[in-house]
Amino acid sequence: MTQITLEIDGKTVEAVEGSSLLDVARQAGADIPTLCQNAQLNEKGSCRLCIVEVVKGKKRSLVASCAYPVENGLVVKTSTPEIEKHRKLLVELLYPTALHLAKRYGVKESRFDGPRGDCNLCGLCVNYCRDVAHKNVLFFEGRGVDRKVSFVPGKAHECSSCGACFDLCSGGFVVNNHGMIGLNERAYSGS
């Protein structure tokens, strides 16, 4: 495996090719907040909290560190006033879910009064159910602002005997709804 050398927050860091900036930066001591990230899961890049500043040659950009592979010569800053401003706004958009992050960022309320519920669509439950539990009971229904987590019609009851993803949920949705009939089954009964 090739060794990569890069600079993170002023320190020179050695890393293994193929690792993500997030993993390497955390190993080097950076405290990067994440919500949707989980070492057991493949899906990444949903919450954007892990954004860091990367300078490559003359180009400066903000990237999601969970999805960015390490490269030689990168100059990385894991926290800047600009980055923190964005992270705080994202946490405000998550409120009142992900309260652990709200605490970290001193967010006690949200200035946004549009609709929100007990699910922030981080995807941990859906992806865990698919990739680790191999039960495929949960899925993402719809797209855009209508996207929601749903139970496969007829399978919602399986969650009661499983509960493996309950601890992953930062909004309470799965815990609150697992016992019910597949949330949208009523709409799909065809009659």
Partner: protein, 636 residues
């Protein structure tokens, strides 16, 4: 149809097709694009065919159904060659006159000729202002060939570029030529095409792909549809040349689901090309193998994004990928894939045939070539226009488009679709050029150009785009999904009269984070319409927020209808036509509107006799009685 084993056989076929075309000295071309078909062009075609037969002219006159002619507002369109008489708004009843006057007597039919605003009538196509100022490099073929006939395309020179490229050029030379031409992607990104091809060619791996992006999701844009419907071989030729240059053996044309005729014509074109051996093994004896398949979209705007489109072809949900590796290096099935827009591919045969220098000299230095725009909205001559880059918006809207109907004032021109921005009247001299438009605060985008007049509300326009994006977003990433949700909520409050101090600043914050952190270009460019509307029309937003008024009289909650009792003569026409029983007043007495019941349908204004003109739209909310439940709703 016998296979063409080598270039010589192609040349022979071309000569034969030309002779066949020239055999009939006169030709009637009628636009058979989806638009004109909707305007009953098929009835005209049948009527013309019958008229030709009745006069026993079938062996002298070629009747041809072509692709889109561009002046869509005035379809069905008929062009009579060789004189190039252009007739607009043709109906089946005109068929006899066209045949008798123009074919037999060689005279134009005056009443079908182009006219704008009482000016003189214009007979021939090149003199019509709409066409005169265009440079129809790509669209010209649409008026001359039947898209269902490969021989037609070959007769006008089709597949000469393929022959030149495959037989007389090396892949590296082709790429160098495309680079030198300066061609930039026509899908909106404006990335240098030659450079993209080179990256894909140089990427490691033997299996490579080329893709035509015909997903054209920008509302208000239909250039790609007309190019693909009207001349599918023109795109195929470019694709095969590109595949050869890049080293790809398989290509895909991804067409959005809403374009059935484009799919049909492309599938047929591919089958015809295969039969002639222009697709498949050992094309024209060059040793190059390449084939193409068509993929249909299923109704999702976001799937037009490169990585999303490739995910869809692979059979996954058409969602963009959070990857920082270009699809040129790792695309379809993780293999190097070159994706270009329909219009980009359509330019390639012209670059090969006429040379990179020629192309580089059309348009501007940094944006060479032409661009097809769909000029729509509040404009007289709505349709597809193709102009050299560098032409000013003013010229396009006024000289080509014929200006604003009803003598209204122009308010803004929107370019770039949901990723673009609004340009106010004061910026109308901006030339259409990738960099100039970006510097002006908008972008080229795929070519949608929407004209808005004084009756268009810019707050409503910003809200329209945010609503579109909120529902077309894939919904995966937080800033885009939740950012758009909150932006939409704020804009909905504002147009309902519930805007607050601080709303503009809040929106600006949301825009900043969305632009900086979203996963794909849909999200990062979503703020553009909002930012540009606020930038150029801030006072309009402020009036909505502070005064609860819509000056353009467009936002339903911020205007009301009013009956002037001094002008009203009590005729009761409005009362009889009110669907919600909202007009009060006894017979023959002046009427008043019960604002609580009014649904703002506007019937009263429409039916009030013009000589009385007693009903008008007034900006601002109506005075509602204090106890009104409608008032309570707003402050909830």
């Amino acid at each position: 149809m016998p296979r063409l084993e080598n270039p010589h056989e192609l040349v022979t076929l071309r000569v034969r097709s030309r002779v066949q075309r020239a055999a009939k000295p006169q030709r009637i071309s009628i636009c058979g694009g989806t638009g004109c078909l909707a305007a009953k062009a098929s009835g005209c075609i049948e009527a013309l065919r019958a008229a030709i037969e009745r006069h026993h002219l079938s062996n002298k006159v070629e009747l041809q159904e072509t692709g889109c002619h561009g002046l869509c507002e005035r379809g069905p369109i008929v062009v009579v060659a060789p004189q190039q008489y252009c007739y607009l708004g043709v109906t089946a009843a005109d068929a006899d006159e066209i045949v008798e006057q123009s074919i037999i007597q060689g005279r134009p039919v005056e009443r079908l000729m182009y006219q704008n605003d009482g000016a003189e009538r214009v007979a021939s196509l090149e003199k019509i202002p709409f066409y005169r100022d265009q440079q129809r490099l790509l669209l010209d073929a649409n008026t001359r060939i039947d898209p269902r006939s490969i021989d037609d395309y070959i007769a006008i020179g089709g597949y000469t570029a393929l022959e030149r490229a495959l037989i007389h050029m090396r892949p590296e030379e082709i790429i160098a030529s495309v680079k030198e031409s300066g061609l930039r992607g026509r899908g909106g990104g404006g990335f240098p095409t030659g450079k993209k091809w080179e990256t894909t060619r140089n990427a490691p791996g033997d299996l490579k792909y080329v893709v035509v992006n015909a997903d054209e999701g920008d509302p208000g844009a239909y250039m790609d549809r007309s190019l693909l419907e009207g001349n599918p071989h023109g795109i195929l030729e470019g694709l095969i040349i590109g595949a050869f240059a890049i080293g790809a053996q398989q290509g895909y044309v991804y067409v959005r689901q809403e374009y059935p005729l484009a799919v049909e014509n492309t599938v047929r074109a591919i089958e015809q090309a295969r039969e002639y051996g222009l697709l498949g093994q050992d094309i024209l004896g060059s040793g190059f193998n390449f084939d193409v398949d068509v993929h249909r979209g299923a109704g999702a705007f976001v799937s037009g994004e490169s990585s999303a489109l490739m995910a869809a072809i692979e059979g996954h949900v058409g969602r963009p990928r959070s990857k920082y590796v270009h699809t040129s290096v790792s695309g379809l099935w993780d293999r190097p894939t070159n994706l270009n827009n329909v219009e980009t591919w359509a330019n390639i045969p012209h670059i090969i045939n006429k040379g990179a220098d020629w192309f580089a000299n059309v348009g501007t230095k940094t944006s060479p070539g032409t661009k097809v725009f769909s000029l729509v909205g509040k404009v007289q001559n709505s349709g597809l226009v193709e102009v050299p880059m560098g032409m000013s918006l003013r010229k396009i809207v006024y000289d080509i488009g014929g200006g604003i109907p009803g003598n209204k004032r122009l308010k803004a021109v929107q370019t770039g679709g949901p990723s673009g921005g609004f340009l106010p009247e004061s910026m109308l001299d901006v030339p259409v050029d990738f960099d100039e438009l970006r510097n002006a605060g908008s972008m080229m985008g795929s070519g949608g150009m929407i004209v808005m007049d004084e009756d268009s509300c810019m707050v409503d326009a910003a809200r329209f785009y945010v609503d579109f994006l909120a529902h077309e977003s894939c919904g995966k990433c937080l800033p885009c999904r939740e950012g758009l949700r909150q932006l939409l909520h704020i804009l909905n409050r504002i147009v309902a009269g519930d805007g607050r101090e601080g709303d503009l600043e809040l929106m600006e914050e949301l825009c900043d984070t969305l632009a900086a952190t979203a996963l794909c270009a849909l999200g990062t460019s979503a703020p553009n319409p909002v930012r540009s509307a606020i930038k150029h029309f801030r006072s309009e937003f402020e009036v909505h927020i502070r005064e609860k008024r819509c000056p353009s009289l467009a936002c339903m909650d911020l205007f009301h209808y009013d009956i002037n009792t001094r002008l009203c003569n009590g005729c009761s026409l409005c009362q009889k036509n009110c669907p919600s029983d909202a007009i009060r007043g006894e017979h023959k007495k002046p009427k008043t509107i019960d604002q609580e019941s009014c649904v703002k349908c506007g019937n009263c204004e429409t039916v009030c006799p013009p000589k009385l003109d007693a009903v008008s739209k007034v900006a601002g909310r109506a005075q509602l009685p204090e106890h009104s439940p409608l008032l309570r709703q707003k402050t909830g």
